[in-house]
């Protein structure tokens, strides 16, 4: 059948009629919602969806408002990055095994991509995976891994063939974070928190059944993950925005107002509104099935806006801007770019133009893939990875 607003709403109401959240265990309710295809309606039936248009998810969410949710903040990487990749490249078994506990939040996921020596140039990554019979033995170091300490699974890109050019020798795995040889160390950031981790992989044995996609096809699989990440970071409609937070400060502290700040805030208010409209138009395009290239652009705009706004807020606060709420070295479960105080927002926003693809890389992508400008002369395209200059 083809789904529309009415039929999805109908199905959601029917589901609620049979499952009273008040009367059942939270997890049972979420599992039932998944099985009813109301988790992500654009996923196939049997995998938490109905094969319906993506934009009808809003209808299901509206109908199920107020019922227990899967705490998306805790499992953002699973929802935003692992799930679409598993759906696109996973086997039937893999999808059935992983998607349900991923969505219900029973199993947290993390991302094992970046390495100290491979940031923007991810494809040079050095973590090796060597095949031994039905297993792969993985050795290497990953970094910038959020939730690694709470994660059950990790999406991992490793080098399975150093003898071919860097993009061709990679393979994509699901890493068992409970396997022997997986060591997680917190990595403290300039905010004082350790939102991320370093992950050391030493002789970690992964069954071949945890491979996602073909051997040597890891780069293509990873692209799917990264595209989804950027849309997730830049594209989502925000309830509470950085502009809203800063405007609140402006309204509540008349004594801090100057024409200098006012003119700059008005400009940024316009920029925020333009970004909101651009994101709305992007979502319309996605819903209409022809995704525009605006995705990577949104993350660019988002980072610039967060950085300028949070910078103005600290400046505006004067003496209060000289203070910082808390330098304690802790490990937050969830991340809120606009949470805590102005100083935190300012420092945390600096990461927005680095994490998930630096703004420099995003500009390259736009220039080459959207505008069709020629690539830089490349020295590393056709050289075997092991022979690259280091």
């Amino acid at each position: 059948m083809t789904w529309d607003e009415a039929s999805v709403a109908e199905r959601a109401r029917a589901f609620l009629a049979e499952h009273d959240p008040a009367g059942m265990d939270r997890l049972e309710f979420l599992r039932a919602r998944f099985d009813a295809g109301l988790a992500w309606v654009h996923f196939p039936e049997g995998l938490g969806g109905l094969g319906a248009p993506r934009d009808l998810q809003a209808v299901a969410d509206r109908e199920l408002k107020g019922t227990p949710d899967n705490q998306p903040g805790r499992i953002g990487i699973g929802l935003g990055m692992a799930a679409p990749t598993i759906l696109a490249f996973g086997t039937e078994e893999q999808s059935r095994r992983f998607l349900r506990p991923l969505w219900t939040g029973e199993e947290v996921w993390c991302q094992l991509f970046s390495e100290p020596g491979a940031g923007s140039d991810l494809a040079t990554l050095a973590t090796r995976a060597v095949r031994e019979g039905d297993e792969w033995v993985v050795d290497g170091q990953k970094v910038w891994t959020s939730s690694a300490h709470t994660a059950r699974w990790g999406i991992l890109v490793a080098r399975t063939d150093p003898g071919v050019p860097k993009h061709r020798g990679l393979t994509y795995f699901v890493c068992d974070m409970h396997a022997p040889g997986v060591e997680v160390r917190p990595l403290r950031q300039i905010t004082g928190e350790a939102e991320f981790n370093e992950v050391f992989l030493t002789g970690v044995r992964l069954p071949d059944a945890l491979r996602l996609g073909e051997v040597g096809d890891g780069w293509r699989v990873a692209q799917t993950t990264l595209m989804n990440e950027r849309v997730a970071i830049g594209g989502a409609p925000a309830r509470r925005t950085m502009m809203g937070v800063v405007a609140e400060t402006w309204r509540s502290r008349p004594e801090l107002r100057t024409h200098d700040l006012h003119q700059r805030l008005l400009k940024l208010w316009v920029d925020s509104e333009v970004m909101r409209l651009t994101a709305a138009r992007l979502r319309e395009q996605l819903a209409a099935g022809h995704p525009g290239p605006e995705g990577s652009g949104m993350k660019l705009a988002f980072a610039r806006l967060h950085q300028e706004l949070s910078g103005i807020e600290v400046e505006m606060l004067r003496e209060d801007g000289l203070a910082y709420d808390d330098w304690t070295f802790r490990r937050p479960d969830t991340v809120d770019f606009i949470g805590r105080e102005a100083g935190y927002r300012y420092l945390r926003a600096k990461g927005n133009s680095i994490e998930g693809g630096t703004s420099e890389i995003l500009r390259n992508i736009i220039a080459e893939r959207v505008l069709g400008l020629p690539a830089e002369p490349r020295a590393d395209k056709d050289v075997a990875w092991k022979d690259l200059p280091r």
Partner: protein, 399 residues
Amino acid sequence: MTLLYTEVEEELRAAVRELLADKCSPSAVLDRADSAAAGGTPYDAELWKALARDIGVAGLLIPEELGGSASREGGASAREAAVVLEELGRAVAPVPFLSSAVLATQALLTAAGQGAGGDLAEELLGRLAAGEATATLAVSFAASPYAPAAPCHENGVTLGEDGTVTGTVTGVIGAEAADVLLVPVRLARKTEPCVGLCAVEASAAVRVTPVPSLDLTRPIATVSFASAPARVVARAEGLEVPWVWEALMRGAGLLASEQLGVAEWCLTTTVAYVKERRQFARPVGSFQAVKHRLADLWLEVVGARAAARNAAALLAEAPAAGPLGDDAAVAVAVAQAHCAAVAVHAAEECVQLHGGIGMTWEHPAHLYLKRAKADQIALGTPGDHRDALAGPADLPTPV
């Protein structure tokens, strides 16, 4: 409401673009600009006739019952006018669409909506829709929709007892092409300040003096009325001239789409040039600094499209006449504040990244730079529109 383009809009765009590709090449526009600078008419009457009559762009905002194509049920609206302006901007086409089919038309629609003098307004709208006549609103193109004073006071055109108007208006666009001039006037016969909107047919009593203008493809002129026979289209008590403010606000909202078109041409043309132009044995477009600047510009243009579409969509939903709601007013201000700056930035990058050739009269880049810069001033500066947002955004001005 959608921010995308509908199929009907894309068809209209295709028709306009095809006509412009045929009749409005950069060299043709440049030749006309040259002759205009030498005293010739700046507008292409033949092109305008083809647009207005054959494609019917003159009537996009005029209701079907008056001979136009606007209607609530699947007819045309501000959305279609916006698409036409995108194409006209992309070609810096020398036609009086904005002055006649948007500004003058909006003034008449507001007047018609008011009853008094409505018949005359409807008669004029009919002539405009049919492409029988071209009009302009005799108000400075630099007037801000937020300016407190009524323009008919600034320039002081008065309607005499004998039914003729006298006075001068500066900074008017589209006057050379206008058969009918709509001018806000002070009614002399009243002691109470009372203003009106008059329709004046072009005649010997109406002198249009072209002014050498920054924008070669839409120059301004000074219009002087010397006891010119006039008909009153609308009256109002006090100093309010709703026909003017409504026209300027709606015009500003649609101007954003012209600015989008200008910016798109500049981006596309520059990208094509840097792919071809080689220096240091490489295409200039392979240098990362150039690539990053064009990527940033692209992002600005993407934002401009979203903002311009939003303004057009909300204007399309607003009543044809009468004051705009807050949403539409905010959408207009946001679109102007953003698109005006993007068009100028795109044109400036276009000149810079073309290098020396971009500084030559022969290359069309300067036509876009001059249009973009003039549009930045037109119908409220970006600063005016930002200031207007302080209220709706609840960002109070420091005291």
